[in-house]
Subunit: 321 residues, 2 copies
């Protein structure tokens, strides 16, 4: 069976609902909402690349998806987001308290799934990787929130934030697979770097889609980042490269609560377009795509074995070739 | 050094603050706010009772306190509580998002502290105990929230809730110490049962203090449980044992948002006093104290070795003898 099929089947068959219902039903709702299941697929892809027995690691791989969905439940409370994957967020469908507590339970479940399925030999190193990564994701989310309240954010700060918020979990998923399959430290580092660079490109793509995406396939409302003042790649670059008048207009728009949200969004996107932001996003994504390819090339496996990783990287950032 | 001294010193010397400050400073604030440090003391007391090397387990013991404080951060958001241990709660001093995210980081830290300090031989069983307990605490908190919205709660339901919300963590702390020290399964079960029964008595005492305590030593505002409609031992018993007219008055008071909070609190406490609730609480605590003593007596250790557990149980429920 293909890795994506294995993962799909796992989540289709898995039942999360126990008592009390109000704790576990939201977990079921979140876990059944689909999504690309990127992180568990990455665990198994890396395990396969380094000769591991993919079938043995499905539950540990799935833990990464449960963890990821835990962060989404809490992030959606913090960002006051209405829609996730085209459906109401947990805190909208239930309430904030439910999203907080069910999220907590998911984080614990993720640990349980790892502890219950990783051999003694690797348990401690897998848990060390998982906890370190989980803390980094919290740190990234904190920077993201801090930056919303800051007037200006440098490119360095932006990249530090998205490394933590998005990069580390994709990177760690790959490293976990490598670790489970007994890859060398060098191999673990190279596959981690590959994931990190793909993750950075992916976050720039996600920032781009918030302005230029199609609401249906994006699964979120267009302009959400603009409304909550998120420091996206587009905003950070516009405040560096825009003319003083454009920067001033953006600042005024962001702080103006007397215009309709749709007007705010379209006015800011207009400036982004004037500044060729779509092209600038593409260039930055290309740069990180190339870095990812360089990391991948250091791994001594056949091109055929590495092909799924190239394909994955392209797919993730909407590349056609 | 005494166990309480070891624990005190550990938390005095421990520094939680890293970057980003807005994530870690609230953790520092929460962990420095004192409290009785019951749970880590219980881990070390049990480890000592069963012949373990107390010094080796301090960090794993401290993890139980970090976990407990994580639950307080999130509970205080959910209950919208203003004061904890005589100081503003984290979500009041900072905001809800901070309390959510710093709480998440504390849960991960607790796992890290266990993984970093428990031998390979016991790691999996300690983690299994910890995760199982952590999930149960979430379940207890969910029942607590669910019950607030229910008209009536039976005594059975009340006890199920407080077992999960309060009992399991005290019980599991003792069991963790026993496990670390290599106690038999029977001994682990007996010390767990002791902790569970003490925990139940303690929760009844906490429910009592919400009405009859001294705000200064209690560290929380009197009547907080009444205002948020918590199903405490006193409320559940009053709705079982009160006259129809008293039950009706309580129900009307709870649902009446047109009277001052202080008036609501004192009117309900008045009915509790008419119903001899202080005596009923005392009787129930005595019952669970005796159950705890029976569990303790099954453990084949000298009375001298077991004396700290008797003392602990008495202290926890405000007993003079």
């Amino acid at each position: 069976m293909e890795i994506s099929e294995i993962i799909k089947k796992y989540f289709e068959e898995k039942i999360w609902t126990e008592e009390p219902k109000n704790l576990y039903e939201p977990i079921d709702y979140a876990m059944q909402s689909g999504g690309k299941r990127l992180r568990p697929s990455l665990v198994l892809m890396a395990a396969k690349l380094f000769g591991g027995d993919v079938g043995k690691y499905v539950e540990a791989a799935a833990a990464m998806e449960v963890f990821h969905n835990f962060t989404l439940l809490h992030d959606d409370v913090m960002d006051n987001a209405d829609v996730r994957r085209g459906r109401p967020t947990v805190h909208r469908k239930w309430d904030d308290n439910t999203a907080i507590l069910s999220g907590d339970a998911m984080l614990i479940k993720a640990y349980q799934m790892i502890v219950g399925n990783v051999d003694d030999k690797r348990l401690r190193s897998v848990l060390d990787l998982f906890s370190k990564t989980a803390l980094e994701v919290c740190e990234g989310q904190q920077y993201d929130g801090d930056f919303e309240k800051m007037k200006d954010v440098s490119l360095d700060e932006y990249f530090k934030m998205i490394r933590l918020k998005t990069g580390v979990l994709l990177a760690a998923s790959l490293k976990m697979g490598a670790l489970l399959a007994g890859a060398s430290e060098e191999e673990q580092r190279d596959i981690y770097d590959f994931g990190m660079n793909v993750g950075i490109a992916f976050q720039i793509w996600d920032d781009y889609l918030d302005c230029y995406g199609d609401e249906k396939t994006f699964g979120k409302k267009i302009g959400g980042d603009i409304l909550c003042g998120k420091k996206t790649f587009l905003l950070v670059q516009a405040m560096i490269n825009g003319k003083a008048s454009q920067q001033q207009t953006i600042r005024q728009l962001i702080n103006n609560n007397n215009i309709l949200p749709e007007e705010k969004i379209s006015a800011i996107i207009n400036i982004y377009t004037q500044l060729d932001m779509p092209l600038m996003c593409e260039k930055a994504m290309d740069e990180y795509f190339e870095k990812a390819m360089a990391s991948l090339s250091r791994i001594k496996k056949s091109e055929e074995e590495k092909a799924p990783f190239v394909e994955f990287a392209k797919k993730l950032m909407g590349r056609k070739n």
